[in-house]
């Protein structure tokens, strides 16, 4: 039963790591008061476009946001904006860890944060070099207007409600390197090779031991034959 005691102590210790989760803001309650635009800037060709392929590590994303003029005056409580990269529905299918939920504490659609800026009604622009840890998927950009505590008050996004237009596909790194490939090959060959070498060595040792025994038995056999022929000569058998 001390196992249970240990378990309970462990649980209490882990309590320290636990932060109490409160229900977050409901996304449906937010108004789309910001207009957001995002463009991919291809460094190689120095071209910018609204939708298409972006490569991590080399391409930038230029994001500009501003308050929608039809919502002027509604921005009294806005303090900051959080700019986030969000998965398009096609990248969410069969991937429960990217699921969209109304409760923003539990929502996983926009798990990658881009940056945070101070809120100004005239808006702002940011240039973001796409980092190498971004997974390969189809995205759009969403900007949340938050208050001083970080609670979401409103939002704006580059795509429509159905999340079908202005989507960007990001091409990731594979994570593989030639050096890793070579190291893996070397280690594998070592593993199999040393095994074969060891077995071969033991087989040779065995053969030597057997041949010694074999030699012994051969000698004994020859002696027996000689013995028999002697006995035949003497006409005993």
């Amino acid at each position: 039963m001390s196992a249970i005691k240990i378990a309970l102590v462990l649980a209490v210790a882990l309590l320290a790591l636990v932060s109490v989760a409160e229900a977050g803001v409901s996304f449906k309650s937010l108004n789309e008061t910001l207009t957001v635009q995002a463009q991919i800037h291809d460094r190689a060709t120095n071209m910018t476009f609204f939708t298409g392929l972006a490569h991590v590590g080399t391409d930038d994303m230029v994001i500009s946001w501003a308050l929608n003029s039809s919502f002027a005056g509604k921005d009294a409580r806005y303090v900051n904006v959080k700019i986030r990269l969000c998965y398009a529905p096609v990248s969410q299918t069969d991937r429960g860890w990217r699921k969209t939920k109304d409760d923003l504490e539990k929502d996983k659609t926009c798990s990658k944060g881009i940056t945070q800026q101070k809120y100004v009604p005239t808006g702002n622009t940011t240039i973001w070099r796409i980092t190498k840890d971004v997974p390969g998927a189809v995205y759009f950009v969403r900007v949340y207007a938050v208050d001083a505590l970080g609670t979401e008050l409103a939002f704006g996004q580059t795509t429509d409600k159905a999340k079908t237009i202005n989507l960007m596909e990001i091409v990731p790194i594979s994570g593989r390197h030639v050096s890793i490939d070579i190291a893996a090959a070397v280690f594998s060959v070592f593993s199999v090779g040393s095994l074969m070498g060891f077995l071969g060595l033991e087989a040779i040792k065995q053969r030597k031991a057997n041949s010694k025994a074999g030699h012994f038995f051969r000698e004994a056999f020859i002696d027996t034959i000689r013995g028999q022929s002697v006995l035949r000569e003497v006409k005993i058998i």
Binding site: A11, L14, D94, S174, G175, I180, F187, S191
Partner: protein
């Protein structure tokens, strides 16, 4: 006359894929013949004394956990550690799954398939390993398997597609057959009175690998990231750790290990003929015993559930409670780490209950423990709060792993002749259970992971009820009392008329005499000589 008698009992039979019992019985008489002239301390063929007290065939009679002395304790540690590292490699991917699934763009079905692949390879390899150990010895079996699956571990850093990932996990999964070599090796080194404890401890500590990997892999990943690698490179580099350790252990086993207390298979001369039992008859005897199917099925819902949870639990905590990789790994590892005590305790509980209630007690004990495990699984699926989920998971892990230990408290009594095949089938049933639960509950996006856990618990409770169907004529079942049949009748019935006239069933009769302890308090204590420790895996 004496030598003729020993020759008869030397024709021990029951040769099958498990093979340990054959080895126990035949070598017993062999040892007696060899050591008839030793009156002083027993020594091995090179004349060295044994550090532990040994019996007539030089198997240790006690177990000293803190010792590393050759040959017995050294073997114990080499053996369980090898098995542990194979478990480590097989379940090295799950704690890093949040990174891998983004790198390879996996869907839930892909992750599920890789989990199934990781446990299905060993279904076949475990069945084959018994024969391999019999032919070339556990030392070679263990080392060859480890060093041939190490390249699969080294291939993991190279995968870039879903198919590659699933294939590599399948190949690494073959390494779980070291369970068989571990048990076989223990049975060669430890006396039958203590082999149950040795086997149970080695199996439990081996299963630890599934827990340790959840702890270590995220830490290694974190360290490599800290050094400066990108996350998609860091997880690949982390896989070199299990690969290198596996290769190293393989070499250690080859150089330092030995098959038997006296030396290696090749060095020792095996005198005397060991008349092999007919494999067909042994197989038929197992296949026609309905209890084999029942326990293979129920083992699938304790050990199988353990394997499934090893595959999904880190990702579950990461996703549901928004923890980082390292924290999710620490929590997930506690599940596997409970194996240190839980599995051996399950076997010990089974033995304790059997002293009073016999086999009926063992059956009830197993049913209660496994059903409670199922109930706790249901509760785990419902737990939405992090603390309660952790506490429930810990208690759940205890019951699930204790059920594994308790199952193998019963297995040795199902059949004497086909113990190897039945043990192997039960073990394989465990892996099949893992495949089935993952396929049913953790593949489709229609179930969230927590719902899958809940349903898995429900299935555990339902399937475990099948233990009610088990009936031993000489001991009874859970609901029915025993009949007039005796242990001799039961174990003798495994041999047909012809075999009985040839006297092949005599070892089974010896076992039947010892198995009378399964009557519980009905038997006078004097007749009991703790035979339940005889052969237990």
């Amino acid at each position: 006359m004496a030598s003729r008698k020993s020759n008869e009992s030397e024709r021990e039979v029951g040769s099958s894929t498990g093979h340990e019992p054959v080895f126990v019985m035949s070598m017993e008489t062999l040892g007696e013949e060899k050591n008839s002239n030793t009156s002083s301390e027993p020594t091995d063929i090179r004349g060295r004394k044994f550090p532990l007290p040994v019996d007539s065939e030089h198997k240790a009679k006690t177990i000293k956990i803190y010792s590393f002395a050759a040959p017995h304790m050294q073997t114990f540690h080499l053996s369980w550690f090898s098995f542990m590292i194979c478990f480590f490699s097989t379940f090295a991917a799950p704690p890093l799954m949040p990174v891998i699934r983004d790198n390879l763009n996996l869907t839930k079905a892909d992750v599920g398939n890789s989990g199934i692949a990781s446990v299905s390879g060993s279904i076949i390899s475990r069945l084959l390993m018994g024969t391999i150990c019999d032919l070339v010895g556990p030392r070679y079996g263990c080392a060859i398997l480890m060093m041939l699956t190490a390249p699969a571990v080294f291939c993991m850093p190279l995968v870039s597609t879903v198919t590659g990932f699933i294939l590599v996990r399948f190949c690494i999964g073959f390494a779980l057959a070291t369970f068989v070599s571990c048990q076989f090796w223990m049975s060669s080194m430890f006396n039958s009175k203590i082999v149950g404890l040795a086997n149970g401890t080695a199996a439990g500590w081996g299963n630890l690998g599934g827990g340790i990997t959840q702890l270590v892999m995220p830490l290694v990943y974190g360290l490599i990231r800290h050094i400066g690698a990108e996350n998609y490179t860091a997880w690949r580099l982390a896989f070199f750790v299990p690969g290198v350790i596996q290769t190293f252990m393989g070499l250690l086993v080859l150089t330092v290990g030995q098959d038997l207390p006296d030396g290696n298979y090749a060095e020792l001369k095996r005198s005397g003929d060991k008349v092999k039992d007919s494999f067909q008859r042994v197989l038929w005897n197992a296949v026609s015993n309905y209890r084999m199917y029942i326990f293979a099925l129920t083992y699938g819902y304790c050990f199988g559930v353990e394997l499934t949870v090893d595959n999904i639990i880190a990702e579950y905590f990461y996703d549901r409670f928004d923890l980082n990789l390292q924290t999710a790994g620490i929590i997930a590892s506690t599940f596997g780490l409970m194996n240190i005590v839980a599995r051996p305790l399950g076997g010990v509980l089974s033995d304790l209950v059997a002293r009073r209630f016999g086999m009926r007690g063992r059956l009830w004990n197993l049913w209660i423990i496994q059903t409670l495990g199922g109930v706790l699984c249901i509760v785990l699926g419902i737990s939405g709060n992090l603390t309660s989920a952790i506490v429930v998971m810990l208690i759940f892990s205890f019951f699930v792993q204790a059920a594994c230990g308790a199952t193998f408290g019963i297995i040795p009594f199902i059949s004497r002749r086909s113990l190897g095949v039945i043990s192997g089938a039960t073990g394989a049933g465990g892996n099949v259970g893992a495949v089935v639960t993952q396929a049913l509950f953790f593949m489709k996006s229609t179930y969230s992971t927590e719902k899958g856990i809940l349903l898995m618990g429900v299935m555990m409770v339902c399937v475990t009820m099948v233990i009610f169907l088990v009936y031993f004529p000489q001991w009874g079942g859970m609901l029915c009392p025993e009949s007039k049949a005796t242990e001799e009748d039961y174990y003798k019935s495994e041999w047909d008329e012809l075999e009985q006239t040839r006297g092949l069933h005599l070892a089974s009769l010896k076992f039947a005499e010892n198995a009378k302890s399964e009557r519980g308090r009905r038997v006078a204590p004097a007749l009991v000589s703790s035979p339940e420790h005889e052969i237990r895996v």
